[in-house]
């Protein structure tokens, strides 16, 4: 586990730069993370990020795209438009949550 300074705050990150501590995230950090992957956060992005942040503590896992759609009410094609090519990974990265993963 390594640390990084994001927006003047020291945070814990993994090899891929994902935050590993739920409580170290804040909205200013999210803006920096989004900029790192070329995304300028709009209101529509924020609705998705806030859903993921609220859902994670109840599930212990980051919501899948399907869950973001069925529970959060977001259109899947819109998620692909907001977070191009790799929405699941990009959403998790900006929200300071683990990326969706398998068992190996």
């Amino acid at each position: 586990m390594t640390t990084a300074i994001i927006n003047g705050t020291q945070v814990h990150v993994n090899e891929e730069g994902f935050l590993t501590n739920y409580d170290e995230w804040n909205e200013e950090i999210a803006k920096v993370l989004a900029a790192n992957i070329g995304i300028d956060l709009t209101d529509e992005h924020w609705k998705v990020i806030r859903f993921l942040r609220d859902d994670f503590p109840t599930q212990g896992e980051t919501a899948t795209i399907r869950r973001t759609s069925t529970v959060g009410g977001f259109d899947i094609k819109q998620l692909f438009a907001l977070f191009p090519q790799k929405p699941a990974k990009k959403m998790a990265y900006i929200a300071g949550l683990p990326k969706p993963r398998g068992c190996v």
């Binding site: 586990m1 390594t2 993994n14 090899e15 109840t58 599930q59 212990g60 896992e61 899948t64 795209i65 399907r66 869950r67 069925t70 529970v71 899947i76 094609k77 998620l79 692909f80 191009p84 090519q85 790799k86 699941a88 990974k89 990326k99 969706p100 993963r101 398998g102 068992c103 190996v104």
Partner: protein
């Protein structure tokens, strides 16, 4: 007389009924198991059926044979549960009242959830192997197949036995090689995740294994529908993956009665405390095995380790004592890698699969995260272990909680 009703007589329900029956006085506690049929399938065996390694008849036995004396088996579909009335309503309108309910109805592939999957190509050029019927149909197709483009595809996570799609791919490579037709088969592995391996250490050790077998990878692919005319997977971001033979893992969902009873989440899994398996919504309902929403693999191994602890917890709980045997998400799984070899992984909620030896540190006989012939034989022997030791709750030489002994931990900055 108090009554425990267990919904589902599969791996988890059968283990729980055997363990609880031994611990509870039959004069005080009745135990009833409900299942829709009397056919218990050894599900890990389905993987081997398409390649003719196991025959369907090798994998099915009557459920009743593995339930102990003093456990009643009711064969019926379940219509719904009325948790406020402590009542299970069966499809034929019979009712069962309970003091404690244990939900163990697992998870099932749902091809109906992807448009185009069930249609003219279903079980012809579009197959699955997670049911005995599907695995048998695929065996028939493969026996006559002349080659082409085979696509192995996962609709979405979570799925039962999450390493099985990779194992299928490795066994298919082995099968086509043995039949001297590997050069006529193009193999593609399609996943909604960002790779075939997503945990850092497993990726490092196993990352090249698909390349070695000349299997190409399509990652971050979320299927929207299957175009059966073009024989192509179509994703939400409009990528297309054509196939001659599609082996898909349909969306997995818990049982529909769970949804009708308003006991489940969006995929019909019952929200529970991940350490005790007690329902978050009802204080006399537990969910065990694949039926719960605990954040670990859906696998018989998880069911086994968690139920060893659940047994003690449940006995404490029904006598008003605190539950102290907290589950850590421990699982271990053999992974067939083809050509007579296999791998083994051992992990829990917090620790990713690491290399090493298991169960005896330094000795094994099994190797973690590395291919070996011993691992393959471990997997093949497991069918006997399942029927003769595991289901009936006999002690096994594996600890329910994960141990770091025998695991290699790299020094990290």
């Amino acid at each position: 007389m108090k009554r425990i009703v267990i919904l589902g007589g599969g791996t988890a329900g059968t283990m729980a009924s055997n363990r609880l029956r031994k611990r509870l006085d039959p004069a005080e506690w009745a135990i009833t198991v409900v299942d829709q049929n009397d056919a218990h399938v050894y599900q890990p065996g389905n993987l081997f059926v398409p390649f003719g390694i196991y025959q369907p008849a090798d994998l099915v036995k009557p459920r009743r044979r593995f339930l102990p004396e003093g456990v009643e088996l009711v064969l019926s579909e379940i219509d719904h549960v009325e948790p406020e009335k402590n009542l299970v309503v069966l499809a034929d309108e019979r009712t069962l009242s309970y003091d404690f309910l244990i939900i163990a109805t697992g998870t099932s592939p749902r091809p109906d959830q992807t448009p185009g999957m069930i249609g003219p190509e279903w079980r012809t050029s579009i197959h699955e192997f997670y049911t005995l019927e599907g695995a048998t149909a695929l065996a028939n197709t493969l026996a006559d197949w002349q080659g082409g483009r085979m696509v192995v595809h996962i609709v979405d996570m979570p799925i039962k036995c999450p390493v099985a799609p990779l194992e299928f791919t490795f066994l298919a490579d082995s099968y086509f090689t043995e039949r001297a037709m590997r050069d006529r088969v193009e193999m593609v592995f399609v996943t909604p995740l960002d790779g075939a391996f997503t945990k850092p250490i497993a990726s490092k050790h196993l990352g090249g294994i698909l390349d070695d077998r000349k299997v190409s990878l399509e990652s971050d692919f979320l299927v929207e529908h299957i175009d059966t005319d073009a024989k192509s997977l179509v994703s939400f971001d409009e990528r297309q993956i054509p196939f001659d033979l599609l082996v898909t893992i349909p969306l997995n969902m818990g049982a529909d009665y769970v949804a009708r009873s308003k006991l489940g989440d969006d995929l019909n899994y019952v929200p529970v405390d991940k350490q005790t398996l007690l329902s978050k919504a009802h204080d006399n309902i537990f969910a065990i095995g694949d039926a719960s929403d605990i954040p670990t693999s859906k696998a018989g191994s998880v069911a086994h380790f968690s139920i060893e602890l659940f047994e003690d917890n449940f006995i404490s709980y029904i006598h008003g004592r605190p539950m102290t045997k907290l589950f850590d998400g421990h699982a271990n799984c053999f992974i067939e890698s083809g050509h007579g070899k296999g791998m083994l992984i051992d992990f829990n909620y917090d620790t990713e699969p690491l290399p090493g030896k298991y169960p005896l540190p330094g000795f094994g006989p099994f190797s973690l995260l590395r291919e070996s012939e011993a691992n393959h034989w471990g997997k093949m022997t497991f069918r006997w272990v399942y029927w003769n030791l595991l289901l009936t709750g006999k002690d096994m030489p594996f600890e329910p909680l994960m141990s770091m002994a025998g695991k290699e931990v790299e020094a990290r900055s």
